[in-house]
């Protein structure tokens, strides 16, 4: 297995792994969004999808651990790369014009990433841990219709809606650079397809976070009335 260690220990291999984990997260975010969106249209669909996701053993004990490992891998590797990259320049420039040749997003992936990580920690404590307690520790009788009311209730709190909104703005910044960067890191670049990948990335990085924000804001205002 030494080739494996050597490949994934190299600068290019690390970025390849980073890109793979990122693409996995991009697909996950889309799936999560589609389920969330149903809460705007149909209480019934949202409840049945949530019940399925929350109780199906394949989702709970196969997909969920993969997701957790994927997230952890992504941000831990993000930190490792950041530290190695910082070490590659020990003395800083007295004057440096980063903006002259690159985008803010591309130079600050660690900061947008850290903000997303803060959100994930919040989301974990706010939603996930109560779910685990509800399902596996306190063991309430199975109520397939509890999800909608619980979710909508979450967005009553304007602070929570504010945190959601800000976090998804940072996700947008992270993905504005990250989406196309992941393809470049894997060597997937072609004069025919790359312009399209960049357009899809731009669309994804705006539309997906905007819809997450929309859902939070929508539930906040529709229930207040």
């Amino acid at each position: 297995m030494s080739w494996f260690k050597e490949t994934f220990g190299s600068s290019i291999g690390r970025k390849f792994a980073m890109a793979l984990s990122a693409l996995f997260l991009i697909i996950f975010l889309l799936q999560h969004l589609i389920i969330n969106l149903t809460s705007v249209f149909s209480e019934e669909t949202f409840n049945s999808l949530s019940h399925f996701m929350g109780t199906n053993p394949v989702v709970q004990f196969a997909l969920q651990p993969v997701l957790i490992i994927g997230v952890i891998f992504h941000f831990v590797m993000g930190f490792i790369l950041e530290i190695r990259n910082k070490n590659a320049r020990e003395v800083k420039y007295a004057k440096n014009e980063g903006g002259a040749n690159s985008s803010w997003m591309s130079r600050n992936m660690i900061w947008s990433g850290l903000f997303i990580l803060f959100f994930l920690g919040f989301h974990f404590a706010d939603f996930w841990i109560p779910e685990i307690i509800h399902k596996y520790i306190e063991v309430h009788p199975d109520d397939p219709n509890r999800y909608y009311a619980e979710t909508v209730h979450m967005f009553e709190n304007p602070i929570r809606v504010g945190i959601y909104t800000l976090s998804f703005v940072f996700l947008a910044l992270h993905l504005k650079h990250g989406f196309q960067s992941a393809f470049q890191s894997m060597g997937a670049r072609h004069s025919k397809y790359t312009p399209m990948i960049k357009k899809i990335g731009d669309a994804y990085s705006i539309v997906v976070p905007a819809l997450y924000i929309f859902i939070a804001v929508y539930h906040h205002f529709t229930q207040a009335i």
Partner: protein, 257 residues
């Protein structure tokens, strides 16, 4: 006597006696610099002045003074080779600056490019990367065969030629927030990988060159694209994607030795 359009400038130049010295920025005044002079000519004027005053002149690398050798490494006002695109420092002219400007002049900053003196850095890391695989082991000159024996699509030939225009200046490393050498190494990998003569050793070459690049202490690529913008030869990021492909496929496909 100052001429009508002569420039009076404040220079903040990095001075460092040797590799061990901590170094610091020193301020100097130069007066009546012709806008038509090149940046290095302005540096010559500064050095004449320093010599007249009995001070140590600023050490900086330069050789061809026509954008070919790649030695004139200076980080000017926060950009490799200063403002302007597709040029080296020796191709930068003083007309890019205004009277009264303050100009910061620093060496390339990278752990893999230690400062030797003032603005001179040690770029032998690039040489060691080349020695690790940036060559073709058989003699390809002097025994020329009929060109039609090795047909090469024009587009591929052009891309190989474009990659081969890299002059090894290190502006890519200097500009990169991670001090990554990916643009340089990818240009050198590509110039061979794109041509049939380079293919037999392509897998081994890319693996060895990337390994050496990592050992030298250059950073990873974050795909910011700063290198491509600052590169005096317009080396494309396409080369980095090609090197990623070459490296990954070589690593996954190669037989265990």
């Amino acid at each position: 006597m100052s001429t009508a359009n002569g420039l009076n400038l404040t220079l903040k130049v990095w001075r460092q006696k040797n590799n061990k010295d901590k170094g610091k920025l020193e301020s100097y005044q130069v007066t009546d610099i012709s806008p038509d002079s090149s940046f290095l000519e302005m540096m010559d004027i500064l050095n004449e002045q320093l010599i007249d005053e009995g001070q140590d002149p600023v050490a900086f690398d330069h050789d061809c003074r026509e954008g070919i050798c790649g030695t004139c490494s200076m980080y000017i006002n926060g950009e490799a080779h200063g403002p302007g695109r597709g040029i080296t420092t020796c191709q930068l002219h003083m007309r890019e600056f205004k009277n009264g400007d303050t100009i910061y002049i620093e060496p390339w900053r990278a752990k893999a490019f230690p400062v030797l003196k003032d603005l001179v850095v040690d770029r032998s890391g690039f040489d060691r990367i080349m020695a690790a695989g940036g060559f073709i082991s058989v003699n390809t000159s002097g025994n020329t065969q009929d060109a039609n024996n090795i047909p090469i699509p024009k587009l591929e030939a052009d891309k190989a030629f474009d990659a081969a225009t890299c002059i090894g200046c290190g502006a890519c490393v200097a500009s990169c927030k991670n001090a990554s050498a990916m643009l340089f190494v990818s240009a050198k990998v590509s110039q061979f990988a794109l041509l049939p003569q380079g293919r037999p050793e392509a897998a081994e070459r890319v693996q060895n060159m990337v390994k050496q690049m990592d050992e030298e202490g250059f950073g990873n690529c974050s795909n910011t694209g700063a290198c491509e913008v600052e590169c005096p030869k317009g080396i494309s990021l396409e080369n980095i994607a090609r090197m990623n492909r070459e490296y990954l496929s070589a690593s996954f496909k190669a037989e265990e030795a």
